[in-house]
C-alpha cells in the first residue's frame, strides 16, 4: 500500500440497509489532497461521505485508512441540523466539543485541549466571538465555528458536506478561501459541492457520482464527457 495515501476505496458499494445506492466506487485520497465530490441530488454523495466516516457501513468493497490516520482522526463538517438553529450554546462550547475524541472517556477538557480549541478559533478568525451565542451568528460565521471544531479533531483530513449551502456569495467565497488556505497548510480536504465552477477553481481531484462514475484530476474532468454534461446542466462554465 502506498504510504502517501490517507484513504483508499476499492470497489466500494454504498447504500442503506443493504439496498445498493452506488457500486464500483474506486478512488484514493493522498496526503494534502483536495477532492471534490459532485453529482446530482440523491446520487449518493452524502451516503459516500457517511460511509467514509463510518457512520454507515459499506455493503461491500474495501475502505482502507492509510498509515497514521485512525478513523477518529477525521474532522467533519456536517450539514446543519434543525436542532442547532435554536441551540443555546456559546461559540466556545461548540469549538471545545471538537476535542471530544481527544478527551475520550476523561470527563473534562485539559489545558492543552482548550489551547487547541482557541488556536483553531483564531485560525478561523472567530476568537473575538468566543463568548457569543452560536445561534445569533450569521450563516458564514456558524460554518467557520464548525470548521474550527472540525479542526480540533484532525490535523490531516477534513470532510465537508456542502459547507456553503445557504450562504450569500460573499460568505461563500470567504469560506472557500479559508478552506483553500487550510489545504495549503497541509490538511487534505474532501468536499461535497454543487458548485462545479468553484470546485474546479480550488480542487485537485474530482469524483463525479452519477450514471457514470468519474475520478481523476480537474484537468481530466474538464475534458471528460461527464464533466461537460454536468457543467452544462448546472449552467456553469468549465473554462476554455
Amino acid at each position: 500500500m502506498d504510504n502517501e495515501s490517507l484513504i483508499i476505496c476499492k470497489d466500494l458499494e454504498i447504500g442503506y440497509n443493504s439496498s445498493i445506492l452506488k457500486d464500483k466506487i474506486n478512488f484514493s485520497v493522498e496526503q494534502g489532497d483536495y477532492l471534490i465530490i459532485v453529482g446530482e441530488n440523491g446520487a449518493g454523495k452524502s451516503t459516500l461521505m457517511k460511509t467514509i466516516l463510518r457512520l454507515i457501513s459499506p455493503i461491500s468493497g474495501e475502505l482502507i485508512f492509510g498509515e497514521g490516520l485512525s478513523a477518529s482522526e477525521v474532522g467533519y463538517l456536517p450539514q446543519q441540523t434543525l436542532v442547532q438553529k435554536d441551540f443555546p450554546a456559546s461559540v466556545w462550547e461548540v469549538v471545545l466539543s471538537g476535542c471530544q475524541s481527544l478527551a475520550g472517556l476523561r470527563p473534562f477538557y485539559t489545558k492543552e485541549e482548550k489551547a487547541l480549541a482557541m488556536k483553531n478559533l483564531k485560525r478561523m478568525g472567530m476568537d473575538d466571538l468566543a463568548k457569543h451565542s452560536y445561534r445569533n451568528l450569521s450563516g458564514g460565521q456558524q460554518q467557520r465555528v464548525l470548521l474550527a471544531r472540525a479542526l480540533c479533531a484532525t490535523k490531516k483530513l477534513l470532510l465537508l458536506d456542502e459547507p456553503v449551502a445557504g450562504l450569500d456569495p460573499a460568505a461563500m467565497n470567504e469560506l472557500y478561501e479559508r478552506i483553500n488556505k487550510l489545504n495549503k497548510e497541509g490538511v487534505a480536504i474532501i468536499m461535497i459541492s454543487h458548485d462545479v465552477r468553484i470546485a474546479t477553481q480550488y480542487a485537485r481531484h474530482i469524483l463525479h457520482i452519477g450514471d457514470t462514475l468519474f475520478w481523476g484530476t480537474v484537468e481530466e474532468y474538464k475534458a471528460s464527457e461527464s464533466g461537460r454534461a454536468f457543467a452544462d446542466m448546472e449552467g456553469g462554465e468549465t473554462g476554455e
Partner: protein
C-alpha cells in the same frame, strides 16, 4: 408575615414535611438537569409517554401488592424508555404514533387493572393521587427518602461527569459519531436516567405532571440565557426555587402539592418570557 413563619415552623416539626421538602428539591433538581437535552433533542414527548407508562406499571404493582412498588415500576419504565428511544431513531416506524399508542394504552390498561383488581376501598382517590400526586402533603417512608437521595446523588454525579459529552451529543450527533464517540450509549444512558427521574418524581407531582418539571425549567432558561452551561445552571436553580415555593404554598394553603409546584413553574415561565422580552432576548 410572622404568622406564616410560625405556622411553617410548626409544620417543619413534622418529619413528613421535612421529607417532602428534601424529596421535592432533589426531584426538581434532577429533572431540570436533563430537561435541556430532552427539549433540544425534541425528546420532550418521550418524557410524557414514559410517565403514562409509569402509571400503568404502578397499577400493576399495586394489584400485585408488592411491598415496594419501585421494584416493579422502575424496571418497566426503564425498558420502555429504551424501546421508545429506539423507535424514535428508527425512521421506518413512526415514532410519534408509537409513543402516543404506548402512552394511552398504558393509561387505559393501568386504570382497567386497578378497577378490576381493586384492593383498596378508595379507588378514585388512588388513581387521582397517582396521576396528580398526593392530595395533601406527601407521606413518605424513611426508606423512600433515602432511595430518592441516593438516586439523586447518582444522577447529579453522572450528569457532572458526562456533562461535556452530553453537550456534544445533544448539539451534533453526526459529528460526535464521526469522531468516534459512542453516541448510542449516551442516548441510552439519557433514556435510562429520564426513566429513573420520572419514577422518582411520580410520588411528588404525579405521573401526569412530571413532564412539566422536566420541560418548564429548560424552556424558561432558554428564554434568558445563551450558553449551554448557563442554561443548565439556571434551569436547575429555577426548578429548585419553584419546587420549594410550591411546597411551602401547598403547606400553608392546603393545596395539592404536585399541581401547586407545576403552577409555580408555569407562572415563573411566563415571568421569564416577559423578562426575556424586556431584555431584548427574543431570539
Amino acid at each position: 408575615m410572622s404568622d406564616m413563619f410560625s405556622a411553617l415552623k410548626i409544620y417543619f416539626g413534622y418529619a413528613n414535611v421535612r421529607y417532602a421538602l428534601v424529596v421535592g428539591v432533589l426531584v426538581a433538581l434532577c429533572s431540570s438537569l436533563l430537561g435541556v437535552t430532552l427539549v433540544l433533542k425534541r425528546f420532550s414527548f418521550i418524557g410524557d409517554g414514559l410517565s403514562h407508562v409509569a402509571f400503568g406499571a404502578l397499577s400493576i404493582a399495586s394489584v400485585l401488592n408488592v411491598s415496594n412498588s419501585m421494584f416493579v415500576v422502575m424496571p418497566i419504565t426503564i425498558v420502555c424508555a429504551i424501546l421508545l428511544l429506539r423507535s424514535g431513531q428508527n425512521a421506518k416506524v413512526n415514532g410519534d404514533a408509537a409513543i402516543a399508542m404506548m402512552s394511552v394504552s398504558a393509561l387505559a390498561f393501568g386504570y382497567l387493572i386497578m378497577n378490576i383488581f381493586a384492593t383498596s376501598t378508595n379507588l378514585s382517590g388512588d388513581v387521582c393521587s397517582t396521576l396528580f400526586g398526593s392530595i395533601s402533603i406527601l407521606t413518605l417512608t424513611q426508606g423512600e427518602v433515602w432511595l430518592c437521595i441516593i438516586m439523586s446523588v447518582l444522577i447529579v454525579a453522572i450528569f457532572v461527569i458526562l456533562y461535556n459529552k452530553i453537550f456534544a451529543v445533544t448539539f451534533d450527533e453526526s459529528f460526535s459519531k464521526a469522531v468516534g464517540t459512542n453516541v448510542n450509549a449516551y442516548n441510552l444512558l439519557i433514556a435510562v436516567i429520564i426513566a429513573i427521574i420520572i419514577v422518582l418524581g411520580m410520588n411528588l407531582v404525579g405521573s401526569l405532571l412530571i413532564s412539566a418539571l422536566i420541560i418548564f425549567p429548560a424552556l424558561s432558561a432558554m428564554k434568558l440565557f445563551r450558553s449551554f452551561r448557563s442554561v443548565t445552571l439556571f434551569s436547575a436553580i429555577f426548578s429548585v426555587v419553584c419546587a420549594v415555593l410550591g411546597i411551602l404554598i401547598s403547606i400553608l394553603a392546603g393545596t395539592p402539592v404536585g399541581s401547586t409546584i407545576v403552577a409555580a413553574d408555569g407562572i415563573a415561565y411566563v415571568i421569564c418570557i416577559l423578562l426575556g422580552a424586556i431584555l431584548g432576548r427574543t431570539d
